[in-house]
Symmetry: C2
Subunit: 251 residues, 2 copies
DNA sequence: ACAAAAGTGTTCGTGCTACACCCATGG
DNA sequence: CCATGGGTGTAGCACGAACACTTTTGT
């Protein structure tokens, strides 16, 4: 499923130093910021994590990079992002993928010019993809040394995710298919970085018809407690749920 | 100020049909959706308009295109957008410019592959730039035949503008430096496409500290009426004024 | 019985809409 | 003094935050 060999071979493709044709235009690359909420340390609250791989070769050897690579001739950006991610994770685990902004400073990476289109990818909390040896999840709040402008890209992606959690159903891509409200609260807390009240979260998502009860319940933990009702998201694609914060059309 | 000659010469650059090196990667182009609120027909309500130029040559001869062109070697996307716009309008009139999404379908234009980064540009209502002969403002609600995917780009830009009018001070780039509340309401109505209540608009923008009174007033029109107080925007750069519609951090 | 976890109800504040009412000017 | 347009006040609603209270389980 995970093919390290392919990944190693494309590493050469990342920054070709020889046979560089100065007449050729800039290279277009696609980079994905893939987030997952994970329990990094056991019995600690879950954290928002991002998928990074460690560069074995120059430039920026040893630093951590976003997965991605060159745009192919017969694919659009979204397809390219999916294809490149396939080298790092089982892409079926990536439940949502959307375009973020483009980084185009002429000197953003050494060597030939590269224009980077970035994507936001989301993996549900119960997904556990196998990873190549050079690839790992890192807590967004505690990033290692990142290559080039990749750190900025991660923080842009996080800001976008936080915004969309407020006015869309985007959490469907971070949550398991069936979940208790406490699980969902933990996901929101990790992604937003601040405490969220379970009660209000449920009411908001119910009113907006984002989630619905499945009628089933989960058994309580070893310390007892009332069994939790299980919920699911109504949609499996992005939907805006609160379009107008202000200045709505007259009704 | 407006140099038609330069524009004509770059028209060749738009779709080079000869000397095409198949080994070269895709061309990166920048396209700008520039909006202005304008009184298209006298004594009719003002409308949101977009700047388009009519193609004199194949492909898509006669259809209307967004201003733009190839990304240069030593410029980033934003600089490129500004440079390309300089061929169509006095760029000093463009008060705001921001990145929108990238269009990357391999077959989106005939001939060599072109990847298009789109931008949203805004010109204030009192700006009246001279235009080249092939260039004109068109009401967004009544677009002519547009080239390739440019129609989609315009509607994406409009959606983005409408969203940002709700939660940012972006209207500063559409309004004159000093304005009455009725003028501002007209601008909001045109940009949003629905009726906005003057009273509430003022209260919302005041509470969010987006606008402030200048202390001056405008003389009433020929039919009389109370003189209008004049206001101005506090900032001349984009600012988010209502970050969290819901799920705010506890405070 | 008691602790733990989940779910419900109630109060409160805030921000926005809608609409009635008051003010200033020209004819 | 009336028509016209601008400005203010107020009632009501919708939504979300906070928190106390009830329900259901395990030990």
């Amino acid at each position: 499923m995970i093919e390290n060999v392919i990944h190693r071979s494309t590493a050469t493709d990342e920054h070709p130093r020889v046979g560089l044709d100065p007449a050729a235009g800039p290279v277009h690359e696609v980079l994905s910021v893939v987030f997952q909420v994970r329990e990094q340390v056991a019995h600690r609250p879950a954290e928002l994590c991002v998928l990074l791989w460690q560069r074995a070769l120059a430039p920026a050897r040893g630093t951590w990079s976003l997965p991605g690579g060159r745009l192919g001739d017969d694919e659009n950006l979204m397809d390219s992002a999916r294809r490149q991610l396939a080298e790092k994770v089982d892409v079926r685990e990536v439940r949502h993928l959307e375009q973020l902004s483009v980084f185009s400073e002429p000197g953003r990476v050494p060597g030939e010019r590269r224009i980077a289109s970035t994507f936001l990818g989301l993996v549900p909390i119960d997904g556990d993809p196998r990873l190549p040896v050079d690839t790992a999840w890192h807590a967004v709040a505690d990033l290692p040394d990142t290559a080039f402008d990749h750190g900025t890209m991660v923080s842009h992606a996080r800001t976008r995710l936080a915004a969309k959690l407020s006015y869309t159903n985007i959490a469907f891509a971070l949550a398991p298919t069936e979940f208790s409200m406490s699980t969902l609260r933990d996901i929101y807390c990790a992604a937003l970085g601040y405490q969220v009240d379970t009660t209000n979260l449920q009411r908001v998502l119910n009113r907006r018809r984002v989630i619905e009860s499945t009628g089933r319940t989960a058994p309580p933990g070893p310390t007892g407690g009332r069994p939790a009702a299980l919920y699911k998201f109504r949609d499996t694609a992005l939907r805006v749920t609160d379009e107008f914060a202000a200045l709505r059309p007259p009704g």
